[in-house]
């Protein structure tokens, strides 16, 4: 009987061991016997099989197929693309749980993995995978299934144009600052699709709240970053980061940074703006009917969005990968990113939830006005030649 996570891992490893032991004895002979029938040279098979245990050969093989570390495919799928983002998202989830737990005088995840529960995300993943996917009888099935996938796709597509260092990026665009914001504007629609398709009153209210929230934060968010654009005269993130060589934009654009930070909290539906999923009011909001890996994908999408927005904050206001030369640029970027992620997580521990009308009042009465003031500050600064 499997009772603990360790036993579960042990069982998986045991299965793997037997597979590796038995496959040369059974599977390979069959493969070598069958392959000549289809007219393929046996040496090709041999090479593929050797590559599976010889990394150097494997690398060469992958390069030949056009999937190497320098290929676009690798960039999109692995680094700095989806896998890396998902990894950061997973670490963020764990870090969030630990940080919140520490603030609340708890210990947080502790048992999965010997050290401070660092294997907890993996355990969570297995838990979510093992859960039954429940689709409500009266739900709109097609859209109900579409929402998690859309959420993840939305998060992943954000990664396309954001650079991690002068050399690490997937694609370059002159408008790489505008593209993420164009995509992010779509995210409340995903929430609404999920909410509507669930056919649940609480989910529906959550979806509507998400739409109202969009109205509250979208405009100040865009205007607050315009200040940076005014200072650099470019929509290209590369050039924006390059312009911060001498001074990070958080100093001339402090107000803009604060506004952008608040709107990030709002965009990510984090406390104090977690209205669309306010548990005690509307159960779990738009996530109410989602279970198992559906829920997992929705969450992963949200946390990839989290990563992207934290990254944007770093690039726009904290000088991106700029830093003393004794560390590679990407390390500087990730250090700053870690700080920004902490900053975004921490309000959840110390602030209560706001109400919808208060959020809209903050958005329209304060943030929009302040973001225009910030824009004027930027114009004055650029005309004075501060940068």
């Amino acid at each position: 009987m499997i009772e603990t996570f360790e036993e579960f891992v042990k069982r998986i490893l045991a299965l793997l061991f037997w597979f590796i032991l038995l496959s040369p004895l059974i599977i390979f002979p069959i493969l070598f016997l069958l392959v000549p029938i289809f007219g393929i040279d046996v040496t090709t098979v041999n090479e593929i099989l050797t590559a599976s245990i010889d990394p150097i050969k494997a690398l060469k093989l992958v390069e030949e197929l056009g999937l190497g570390p320098s290929s676009t495919f690798f960039k999109v799928v692995a680094f700095p693309g989806f896998t890396f983002a998902a990894l950061v998202a997973t670490i963020t989830i764990l870090y969030e749980r630990k940080l919140i737990a520490k603030t609340q005088l708890r210990v947080g995840p502790l048992y999965a993995g010997r050290f401070e529960g660092f294997l907890q995300p993996i355990a969570d993943l297995f838990k979510l995978l093992g859960k039954e996917l429940i689709v409500p009888e009266k739900a709109d099935k097609a859209f109900f299934w579409a929402a998690p996938i859309l959420s993840l796709a939305l998060g992943a597509s954000l990664l396309a144009v954001i650079p991690l260092s002068p050399t690490i990026y997937i694609a370059r665009s002159d408008f790489s600052l505008l593209i993420p914001f164009a995509i992010i504007g779509f995210s409340p629609l995903v929430v609404l699709i999920a909410a509507w398709a669930s056919s649940n009153k609480f989910a529906f209210i959550g979806g509507l709240r998400a739409l109202h929230q969009l109205a509250a934060y979208e405009i100040p968010m865009l205007i607050s970053i315009l200040g940076v654009v005014v200072l650099t005269g470019s929509f290209d993130l590369m050039e924006i980061v390059e312009a911060q060589k001498n001074m990070w934009f958080i100093i001339p654009q402090f107000l803009g940074a604060i506004i952008f930070y608040i709107t990030i909290l709002s965009e990510l539906e984090r406390v104090p703006f977690d209205l669309p999923e306010a548990e005690t009011e509307i159960v779990s909001g738009w996530l109410t009917e989602y279970t198992g890996m559906h829920f997992g994908l929705l969450q992963l999408g949200v946390y990839i969005k989290f990563y992207v927005l934290a990254l944007l904050f770093t690039l726009l206001f904290l000088g991106g990968w700029n830093g003393p030369a004794f560390l590679p640029p990407v390390v500087w970027l990730l250090t700053k990113l870690f700080f920004v992620i902490s900053l975004i997580i921490f309000p959840r521990a110390v602030l209560p939830r706001l109400r919808l009308d208060q959020l809209i009042r903050i958005g329209w009465a304060w943030l929009i006005a302040l973001s225009f003031i910030n824009l004027f500050i930027a114009v004055i600064e650029s005309s004075l030649g501060v940068i």
């Binding site: 919140i100 603030t103 609340q104 005088l105 708890r106 009266k138 739900a139 709109d140 859209f143 509507w196 398709a197 669930s198 056919s199 649940n200 009153k201 609480f202 529906f204 209210i205 406390v271 104090p272 977690d274 209205l275 306010a278 548990e279 005690t280 009011e281 509307i282 159960v283 779990s284 959840r348 521990a349 110390v350 602030l351 209560p352 939830r353 706001l354 109400r355 919808l356 009308d357 208060q358």
Partner: protein, 373 residues
């Protein structure tokens, strides 16, 4: 999408009927049927009774001692508060007088339980406003007080400690030192609570001016306990009609004039401090002596009736016991504060926003199990 449209929007035109509870993170064993028009609640009908166990009927089958573990079940987080009036009433029926030391120990126990219950309330109120730290901290600190109560009563929540004729055992020898140490620690914690929650502008924004219960309404609707005091009435049974030895201790009744959710929160926070203040005074007043009168045998009530009220954590707890001379009571009527405060809930909810529902609901400190009995 015809299916989902039909399900999401009710027949009532643009009004939405929400069944909040009994399976809802913000309800407890209890349901409020809320009709919302946009974001505003136009009708709220409380529907208690999900945990009704017929405590009054069952009390007619048990003798005066056996009723004690039974009657504390409805309010296990305030177990001494709920059994104290019962025991006082039963003592009047049986005709025994507890020793003085027992009266003081009863006060310690009742006040400890008030702290435990208020901390529980505070924790839930924190999470109802989405403040998860305010959930964890009071729950953790509550454990210290539970430990104190456990060292007297022997169990964590259901003590069955106060019995007719006194209390079941004396307090432990080192209890005073332990308690004072805990109080010193907790006084510091209250300052942290204030900083992170009560003085937090966002918390104030959520609760100030929300669910305003005016003084006249509070009296008219029969609101009791901290909710009444938050509306500007300094009514407290411990002062109005002192029982045990509350005459001898000196304490304040915290009141606020606003009558909103925030006022109810602050009144409860101040009551925590007053409870500790009372226990500290009791430590000075208490003198050695017996803690229980020797009764011997099964207690029989004299024919007659008694009604007793005390100030439990949620308000005035009232017992009406009728005896026909048998060893079991003829009729036990329990009037619990939650049940009386329930009437205020629909009064406050109508006209407020849906998002304010948890803020109003739990600021009344409504305990469904207590109300259902």
């Amino acid at each position: 999408m015809p299916n989902s449209v039909m399900n999401v929007v009710d027949q009532g035109g643009d009004r939405l009927v929400l069944h909040v509870g009994p399976q809802h993170p913000g309800s407890g064993h209890f349901r409020i049927i809320v009709t919302v028009d946009g974001d505003y609640i136009v009708d709220a009908k409380p529907d208690p009774g999900y945990v009704h166990r017929g405590a009054e009927k069952m009390a007619e089958y048990r003798d005066y001692i056996q009723n004690i573990p039974h009657l504390e079940r409805p309010v296990i987080i305030d177990a001494s508060g709920v059994t104290l009036p019962y025991v006082l009433a039963a003592e009047k029926i049986i005709g025994v007088e507890p020793p003085v030391r027992a009266e003081y120990i009863r006060m310690i126990m009742a006040e400890l339980n008030r702290i435990i219950s208020h901390l529980y309330w505070l924790a839930i109120y924190g999470i109802f406003l989405g403040h998860s730290t305010m959930f964890m901290w009071p729950m953790g600190d509550r454990e210290l007080f539970i430990d104190l109560a456990e060292s007297i009563g022997g169990t964590r929540v259901t003590f069955s400690y106060i019995v007719p004729g006194g209390v079941r055992n004396d307090i432990p020898i080192n209890f005073k030192e332990r308690a004072l140490k805990t109080f010193d620690y907790f006084e510091k914690r209250i300052k942290e609570y204030e900083k992170i929650f009560f003085n937090n502008p966002l918390m104030a924004a959520r609760t100030e001016g929300i669910g305003v219960l005016k003084k006249d309404d509070a009296i008219r609707l029969g609101i009791t306990g901290s909710n009444l005091r938050a509306s500007g009435v300094d009514s407290d049974t411990r002062k109005d009609e002192p029982y045990c030895m509350y005459k001898k201790v000196d304490f304040d009744i915290p009141t606020r004039q606003e009558g909103d959710s925030y006022a109810r929160c602050v009144v409860r926070l101040r009551e925590l401090q007053q409870s500790m203040n009372i226990i500290k005074q009791v430590f000075d007043l208490i003198e050695p002596g017996p803690v229980k009168q020797v009764l011997g045998g099964v207690m029989r009530g004299e024919p007659g009736e008694a009604f007793v009220r005390t100030e439990a954590a949620r308000g005035t707890m009232f017992y009406h016991i009728v005896s026909d001379g048998d060893k079991i009571p003829y009729r036990v009527k329990i009037s619990v504060p939650s049940f009386r405060n329930l009437i205020g809930m629909s009064h406050l909810l109508i006209g407020s926003r849906l998002a304010d529902m948890p803020a109003i609901y739990w600021s009344l400190d409504y305990w469904p199990v207590e109300a259902d009995r």
